[in-house]
Amino acid sequence: MEFIYLIFILMLAIVAGFELISKVPATLHTPLMSGSNAISGITLVGALISAGSANETVTIILGTLAVTFATINVVGGYLVTDRMLAMFKKKKEGEDKS
């Protein structure tokens, strides 16, 4: 039953994803990529559980590496996206966009 419930969540999320992302303008496609890429680093949650529950060499290595790589993905992804988005600003203040 839980499997079915997870599939249900997957379907809803896919629909929401398509709706939201098709509204992102072309000019923001690179930040969209790096930002969504950072979201995919959510694997970190799984990695933390793996690393934290590990009690033998192989699982410790696998878990710790997974945490490291996922953290690179998350931290790097969000920071670089923020750096890019900070550059997208309107130049002439006080001038309404027509």
Binding site: L10, A26, T27, I39, V45
Partner: protein, 465 residues
């Protein structure tokens, strides 16, 4: 309420923040805030997970978090905007291998390997592995560690089929019998699993290696989608809804971008992945070429000085020449001179979706001036001068006129409709896709040979004097 329910509530909140974050990306004004909300969601999810009942020790978690945070922060800080496609490819790859490792570690523990767990494990290893090695190859091609040409060899398709068959067989074996001996042999099922890991990696290499550099926007988008799907698969492995929601969001985003990119190249995804573009281009059609008409910086200045409207069409060459800052300076000088200046951005200009927009934003160009292809094309016949900087295929009229051209049917920016076209180019060498460009020989085209940055610096100096 027990701790497990509380953690799951936080996960729902995190998923909600991701969704709101993506929604705020629909406008440049709110985008940065959206990214902040999304990262807050991530922080909440991570902190909540630390209370998970299965976690018994924190020392390795801390090691991994610190190492990852340091590497991530440094790379995000030092990367140049022109190298953004490479960086995204690498981040993508680390997400992929993280999903693979999560799947592997759950398999290694080996408890309750029923099909509803083993199938997601196999998927997270497979997709994660392909994402990892595929991204590494994409990175190598983008940073020119290996050359960007499509690499095609005999029997490649047979090898691919063979690999898919191995993966399929290994997957089926592992679902039926996840652990123990391989049906009466000395071979442990664990080796079948290792085989699955290795072959997934090989598949990623084989998938990206035949794809040419000009097709990289599609590949990056697709790998982006894969990294999301890998995370969603890992979510099924550990029955975690926040992984599934986020993975699906990212998967959808990658697929949409892939579609946009394929459409902008007028090719199907299958064609891009399997045809090895650029390798089949024949050298026919050279008969219709005329003479090219070079122009000096001084003469170009005189024409620009008199122009009322100018459209600048940037391509990957602008990024290579690092010319975005002088381009902005030139645009400002022309505007001061009373000229209307716009930038026309083709969806596949550069090496990733939106690549040119980021570079021009870095150079302080107002995003309102960055116009999309469909938006600018109807106005092209009224434009006095179109300046093509390091773009080639995206302004190639052969896509419109020459049915034998490999890019026939691809939507282009109609630079040739402008009264005068300046093409900034180093030499007459054909562009990335290796296709002749009749634009260079048109009556209204003037070639401004030389390094794009130097040529524009020359124009800027003329305007200032």
């Amino acid at each position: 309420m027990n701790i497990d329910q509380l953690i799951n509530l936080v996960y729902i909140l995190a998923a909600l923040l991701f969704i709101i974050g993506v929604k705020k990306l629909s406008s440049p004004q709110t985008a940065r805030q959206g990214n902040g909300l999304s990262s807050l969601g991530m922080l909440l999810a991570v902190v909540a997970t630390l209370w998970h009942q299965d976690i018994i020790g924190y020392e390795w978690i801390i090691v991994g978090l610190l190492a990852g945070a340091v590497i991530g922060t440094i790379s995000a800080r030092v990367v140049k905007m022109t190298a953004m496609p490479e960086m995204v490819a690498l981040f993508n790859g680390s997400g992929g291998i993280a999903s693979l490792l999560v799947g592997w570690s759950v398999y290694h523990v080996g408890s309750s390997l029923i099909p509803s767990t083993t199938i997601p494990i196999i998927l997270s290893v497979l997709i994660g592995g392909v994402t990892f090695t595929g991204s590494l190859i994409a990175w190598a091609k983008l940073s020119e560690v290996i050359d960007g040409k499509p690499h095609i060899f005999k029997g490649q398709h047979i090898l691919n089929v063979l690999i898919l068959l191995i993966l399929l067989a290994a997957g089926i074996f592992l679902v039926i019998k996840p652990v123990g001996m391989f049906w009466g042999t000395d071979l442990s099922m664990y080796w079948i699993f290792i085989l699955l890991v290795l072959v997934s990696g090989i598949l990623g290499v084989l998938m990206v290696i035949p794809i040419g550099g000009a097709d990289m926007p599609v590949v990056i988008s697709l790998l982006n989608s894969f990294s999301g799907l890998a995370a969603a698969a890992a979510g099924f492995v550990i029955s975690n809804n926040v992984l599934i929601v986020s993975g699906a969001l990212v998967g959808a985003s990658g697929i949409i971008l892939t579609q946009i990119m394929s459409k902008a190249m007028n090719r199907s995804l299958g064609n891009i992945l399997f045809s090895g573009f650029g390798s089949v281009v024949s050298s026919e059609g050279s008969s219709e070429q005329g003479d090219v008409k070079p122009i000096t910086v001084e003469d170009a200045y005189l024409i620009l000085e008199a122009a009322r409207s100018v459209v600048i069409i940037p391509g990957y060459g602008m990024a290579v020449a690092q010319a975005q800052h002088v381009v902005r300076e030139l645009a400002e000088l022309m505007e001061k001179n009373g000229t209307e200046v716009n930038f026309a951005i083709h969806p596949v200009a550069g090496r990733m979706p939106g690549h040119m927009n980021v570079l021009l934003a870095e150079a302080n160009v107002d995003y309102d001036k960055l116009r999309e292809m469909d938006d600018i094309n109807p106005t092209m016949p009224t434009v006095d001068v179109a300046i093509v900087i390091g773009a080639n295929d995206v302004v190639n009229p052969a896509a419109r006129e020459d049915q034998s051209s490999p890019i026939y049917g691809m939507p282009i920016i109609n630079a040739d409709y402008a009264r005068t076209v300046f093409v900034l180019k180093r030499s007459m060498r054909p562009g990335f896709a290796g296709i002749e460009n009749p634009l260079f020989f048109k009556e209204n085209t003037r070639m401004l040979f030389g390094d794009a940055k130097h040529s524009i610096q020359g124009l800027v100096a003329e305007f200032k004097s």
